[in-house]
């Protein structure tokens, strides 16, 4: 079996989520990577992709039509290339989730979304594990389709090494611009901090932070000291303390850092679904019965407004 992995890239670099998708794809068989994009950016992303351990070949589709991963243009390209492959694997990022189902429908196959496990170590496995009901249940499903299309949850698979490989680049062309859609712009969240989904430490705040100003006063100094990314519960996002792209949970980002510090987060099911795979979870909350304590490795019951500044001052970094 040979799998084609959709490479997510930005500014000529391969994004980390792709590396987990490569690991998952390697469980199915040989791995080729597809880089779709424009000009020099796409070429340098393709060159980076040749170095990913386990990737045997990189297909480069360089065309302005593929510049912003518009699914109307990229899906027909991928579907056309799939004539030579048995599986299409994309990271379960907003880009992968946008493109992969469109590819699956063009191939007339059912996609396996958000795969967290592949059963059977032998090549050609068709049994997959995926969360349903916001992670409240785990389904094991088998595909009967001729070709597989899956999106892979990045926190569930180790990242393939970004260096060490030496694949060749093959230029490919696709149908180009379908003329249905155009990219207008992106309002990127500017931050000096690590990205939530790849951060080693995350400091996350909940509704108990009271308002946007308090959220910033308490969370930012601690995150600065730890070099951490900042997350939030859906309640904090809905209350307007911080923008939605910081939301951790089933409806936001799924994270699994080395250390997750939950401040004033009660631990709603949907939040836990987004962070319960973190290695060490610390919870600080004034309510000793908050559900977050049922999954936290280390808990501290008390007043955030006293504890957090004290913690920030006592941590050496």
């Amino acid at each position: 079996m040979t799998a084609l992995v959709l490479v997510e890239h930005e500014g000529g670099a391969v994004k980390d989520a792709t590396l987990a998708a490569v690991t998952a794809a390697a469980r199915l068989g040989a791995v080729h990577a597809l880089v779709a994009g424009e000009g020099a950016d796409a070429r340098s992303a393709a060159e980076a992709a040749t170095k990913i351990a386990g990737v045997e070949k990189v297909l480069l589709a360089a065309d302005p039509a593929y510049a912003h991963m518009l699914p109307e243009n990229v899906a027909p390209l991928a579907a056309q290339l799939m004539a030579g492959y048995d599986a299409f694997v994309a990271p379960a990022t907003t880009t992968g989730k946008n493109v992969a189902p469109r590819v699956a429908a063009l191939l007339d196959v059912m996609q396996l979304s958000d795969v967290i496990g592949i059963e059977g170590a032998k090549e050609g496995g068709r049994t997959f594990v995926r969360p349903i009901y916001a992670g409240n249940a785990i389904a094991t499903v088998e595909s009967r389709d001729a070709k597989l299309v899956l999106t892979v949850r990045g926190t569930a698979f180790a990242r393939a090494a970004a260096v060490g490989g030496s694949a060749a680049i093959e230029d490919v062309t696709g149908p180009g611009d379908a003329g249905l859609s155009s990219f207008v712009g992106i309002e990127a969240t500017k931050s000096e901090r690590p990205e939530l989904t790849s951060a080693k430490i995350i400091v996350s705040g909940g509704r108990a932070l009271k308002d946007a100003a308090t959220f910033e006063q308490l969370i930012v100094p601690l995150a600065d000291k730890l070099g951490a990314a900042i997350g939030a519960s859906r309640a904090a996002v809905d209350a307007g303390y911080i923008s939605n792209d910081s939301q951790v949970g089933q409806t936001g980002k799924i994270v699994a850092p080395e250390l997750y510090i939950a401040l004033g987060i009660s631990g709603a099911i949907q939040h836990l679904a987004g962070m319960k795979d973190s290695k060490v979870i610390v919870a600080i909350n004034k309510d000793a019965d908050a559900p977050i304590f049922q999954i936290a490795d280390v808990g501290l019951v008390g007043d955030l407004f006293a504890i957090v500044p004290e913690l920030t001052s006592k941590l050496q970094y």
């Binding site: 699914p71 109307e72 907003t94 989730k97 946008n98 189902p101 469109r102 590819v103 699956a104 429908a105 063009l106 007339d108 196959v109 059912m110 996609q111 396996l112 979304s113 958000d114 049994t127 969360p131 349903i132 009901y133 916001a134 409240n136 249940a137 785990i138 389904a139 094991t140 088998e142 595909s143 859609s181 990219f183 207008v184 712009g185 992106i186 309002e187 990127a188 989904t197 430490i201 939605n244 792209d245 089933q250 409806t251 980002k253 099911i269 319960k276 290695k279 979870i281 000793a288 049922q294 999954i295 936290a296 490795d297 280390v298 808990g299 501290l300 004290e310 006592k314 941590l315 970094y317």
Partner: protein, 249 residues
């Protein structure tokens, strides 16, 4: 312009799902069911488009059991004009639903399809994208803002790195994210009125669509339980513990 709004009947957002003892699925007997929350947002968005004079008629569609009529009545009570139930007691996968919706689009010729980005039961996040592929139309997924202007719709999308804006030629498929709007509650008079709005009942066979599943569910299990750790008494103890665990210097 006609707007098509597919809606799904799912386990209520506030109910904690229980896995059946035999591992065959999630227990839905005697469990409160509601409209998928993302679909409620889609219905609301369609109604707002109608209120702004951009949409002329809203057609709600559901693929599901007879009881999905209740979900469609909710959509009608919120403000949809008529409804179509494609009745089947079997679970239909996203690809099958997309094929049925494609057939309905061929009949109804909507200018816009607005639907939830995912259902909160199977969490697939596929049907909108698949419908867009099958109809050969553009897709604006995970929408937090939708503006219809002439022959185009401009969609602001919630993506990992921020907010992306795309411009799509109509007809188009839009899938909703949480912050697009806050759905209204249906008023009692509107709930009464909804009872007399038209609701057509069809079957997948009426559309000539094969909805046989492609995936076999081998088992459904509870997620692994994470053990609660220790509660400490002071910040000093917390700092010491974090050092012992090796997660801070």
């Amino acid at each position: 312009m006609r707007v098509l709004v597919p809606v799904k009947r799912v386990i209520d957002y506030n109910v904690r799902p229980r896995v059946k003892a035999d591992g065959s699925g999630v227990d839905l007997a005697n469990v409160k069911m509601s409209m998928n929350p993302f679909d409620e947002i889609a219905v609301e968005e369609a109604i707002r488009l109608k209120e702004k004079g951009k949409a002329s008629e809203i057609v709600a569609v559901s693929v599901g059991p007879a009881k999905a009529q209740e979900t469609l009545r909710t959509a009608l009570a919120m403000g949809a004009d008529r409804a179509i139930l494609v009745e089947t007691e079997e679970a239909v996968e996203p690809l099958g639903v997309a094929k049925i919706l494609k057939a309905i689009c061929d009949e109804e010729q909507p200018g816009l399809v607005v639907m939830g980005k995912q259902a909160i039961d199977d969490d697939s996040n596929q049907t909108g994208q698949m419908l867009a592929a099958l109809t050969g139309r553009p897709q604006g997924t995970f929408a937090s803002k939708v503006e219809v202007e002439g022959e185009h719709v401009t969609v602001t999308r919630e993506v990992d790195g921020g907010l992306e804006t795309v411009r799509l030629a109509l007809p188009a498929i839009v899938t909703t994210d949480l912050r697009l709007n806050e759905p209204r509650y249906a008023s009692l008079p509107n709930i009464m009125k909804a009872k007399s709005k038209p609701l057509a009942v069809k079957s997948p066979a009426d559309y000539g669509v094969d909805v046989a599943p492609r995936l076999t569910v081998l088992k459904v299990a509870e997620p692994p339980v994470r053990q609660a750790g220790v509660k400490l008494g002071s910040v000093d103890e917390l700092v010491a513990r974090l050092k012992t665990l090796g997660v801070v210097a």
